[in-house]
């Protein structure tokens, strides 16, 4: 990445942050949620580029959120950095175990198995009285390195952390996709046999992507938990995972920015739709999805590509 584009990104990041902070509270709240979901979808996109659709990212989204919530409620840990570290580590460990089984499957089996695991978590949480069963429980306000802003300041803190994460992880993901590991995803999607004969381990490639996606989903869940001050089992429910797939299809897999932008659009569309049509907003979303599949099968990002009039990318 050139110095110029890095500087541009920095300006864009600061602008996003300032813009987010200046928004009315309810909007900056939605914006923060969108950043969180965008990160979950970014992970999903890594898998989708390898030809795998997970209908169970809610598992790690929810795990991350619950770890965050439990730390603030039961261990009185409120430091946002510690919480993030714990959420990600825990989810990554779980993903490393589940991935051993899951990454042997493809297509519908991968999708359904991933969903099954998230439904198991949902079932466990719903039965757990200590964790508030279906109601979930509240999450305390986060702090940063000993600094504990009030309730309002806390949401600003989460927003700032979320924006920072989106930009740094976005840049890392962008570089990742341009590396051999990134291209390995496409290679898996296109031809596993060839890859194996080249000496590549298809399992290892998918396994690593699955774990990265889980980490990103946990971060998304943590952001959501901290900004909303609440967690509940719904986060692991299959409709939540479905929403992530929806956003991924909406944005497309063409660029790391696509899932983030799509998440912001999705949250806006949903808020708007449920305000103007409280009973039929799902239908509006349905039509939106239908329109995208019919007219922009590669997602909204294909509009950007069309605008740039991209020919097959030229090599350096």
């Amino acid at each position: 990445m050139s110095k110029r584009s890095l500087a541009l990104l920095l300006i864009l990041g600061v602008a996003t942050l300032v813009g987010g902070l200046l928004l009315p509270n309810w909007m900056s709240y939605l914006f923060t949620i969108a950043m969180g979901k965008g990160l979950v979808v970014l992970g999903l996109v890594l898998l989708m580029r390898a030809g795998l659709v997970s209908f169970g990212q809610g598992l790690y989204y929810c795990l991350g959120a619950y770890v965050a919530g439990m730390l603030t409620q039961f261990a009185e840990v409120t430091d946002v950095l510690l919480i993030l570290l714990a959420s990600v580590s825990f989810s990554v460990v779980i993903a490393a175990i589940i991935g051993l089984l899951l990454c042997r499957y493809r297509e519908i089996f991968f999708a359904m198995f991933s969903m099954a695991f998230s439904m198991i978590l949902y079932g466990l949480l719903v039965r757990n009285q200590v964790l508030g069963s279906t109601d979930g429980f509240n999450v305390a306000n986060p702090s940063l390195l000993g600094w504990a802003p009030g309730p309002e300041g806390a949401s600003n803190l989460v927003l700032a952390v979320a924006v920072l994460l989106v930009f740094t992880l976005g840049i890392l993901a962008w570089r990742y996709l341009k590396s051999l590991s990134g291209y390995a995803g496409e290679a898996v999607r296109e031809n596993e046999i060839r890859l194996e004969y080249l000496g590549g381990s298809v399992f290892k490639i998918i396994y690593v992507k699955y774990i990265i996606a889980a980490g990103l989903a946990a971060i998304g869940g943590t952001v959501t938990a901290l900004v909303s001050g609440h967690v509940d089992p719904e986060m692991a429910y299959w409709t939540t995972s479905g929403e992530f797939v929806f956003i991924a299809l909406m944005g497309g897999t063409g660029h790391v920015a696509a899932p983030i932008i799509a998440a912001v659009l999705f949250e806006s569309l949903r808020t708007y739709a449920s305000a103007v049509a409280p009973y039929t907003w799902q239908m509006i979303l349905g039509f939106a999805l239908l329109a995208i599949i019919l007219f922009l099968p590669s997602g909204l990002w294909s509009l950007v590509e069309r605008f740039q009039n991209k020919k097959p990318r030229k090599a350096p």
């Binding site: 990742y176 590396s179 051999l180 390995a184 496409e186 031809n191 060839r194 890859l195 000496g199 350096p316």
Partner: protein, 265 residues
């Protein structure tokens, strides 16, 4: 010294079909072996077994003296056995350049980099010279699925050769290629292979091509090795002519001139 490849009583059945049986052969380094046999004779089955794609029902396969039974294609390829496919196996929706870059990353660098760009200038320079060697550099930026068979076959072989295998198995490198281009393709491939000094088995239906490039011929018939020996000798064997070639070959015909003959001429 043990042979590069040795098979012992190799057998493979598919239900009641005996696709290969009683296969005992030895290949030594540097040999160029033509594999002939009519459709369904067991040639691909043989290659598939030797590269770990399918497992034999019985018998043993030794690469440099070590058994590869139970090994995956990945492990066999890491043991130094490369192959190409009857239908080129490529990353169809990626460009030629990305295909060969990925191949280079996996078989030469052997490290799954996370942040180093795949298309770095030095890597691109390296793989471009490979594409040049196989005479497909002009297609570097084309998407593979849009390319003619011949280019795909060459790319398939170029990718497999990157890891410098000691033994290379080519399954019908010239199938799907126009008759007039077959020799061009084989000249390119064989030049690259000779340079790397890999022992090579190539499956071929065209006897002109076999005569031109092979030092030795393995003739398969009905899952068995019908004949194995120097090219001229095997091809002039009446049994091979009757059962494999399907017609009489007059090896004195000028079109069957071997490379060596024409060199002398």
């Amino acid at each position: 010294m043990s042979a590069l490849l040795k098979t012992v009583n190799l057998e493979r059945t598919f239900g009641a079909v005996i696709a290969a049986t009683d296969i005992n052969i030895e290949i030594n380094s540097g040999e160029i072996v033509g594999v002939i046999g009519s459709n369904g004779a067991g040639k691909t089955t043989f290659i598939n077994m030797v590269t770990g794609y399918i497992q034999p029902s019985d018998g043993d396969i030794l690469v440099r003296g070590k058994s590869i039974i139970g090994k995956s294609p990945r492990e066999v390829s890491l043991a130094g056995v490369g192959r190409s496919f009857q239908i080129a196996q490529l990353f169809q929706e990626l460009t030629v350049l990305d295909n060969i870059l990925i191949a280079h990353g996996f078989s030469v660098d052997r490290k799954l980099n996370f942040l180093k760009p795949l298309r770095s200038a030095d890597k691109v320079g390296k793989v471009r010279s490979v594409l040049r060697e196989y005479e497909i550099e002009e297609y570097a930026n084309e998407v593979v699925s849009t390319l003619p068979q011949g280019v795909r076959k060459l790319l398939d072989i170029a990718m497999a050769m990157l890891s410098k295998p000691g033994l290379m198995l080519l399954d019908e490198p010239t199938s799907g290629v126009a008759v007039e281009d077959k020799f061009l393709l084989m000249d390119t491939v064989m030049a690259a292979i000779r340079k790397s000094n890999a022992a090579t088995l190539f499956v071929e239906h065209d006897m002109e091509v076999v005569l031109r490039y092979a030092d030795r011929v393995l003739a398969f018939y009905d899952g068995r090795v019908l004949a194995d020996g120097p090219t001229q000798k095997v091809l002039s064997d009446p049994k091979v002519q009757e059962l494999v070639v399907g017609h009489h070959l007059d090896l004195s015909d000028v079109k069957y001139a071997t490379k060596k003959d024409s060199d002398h001429a």
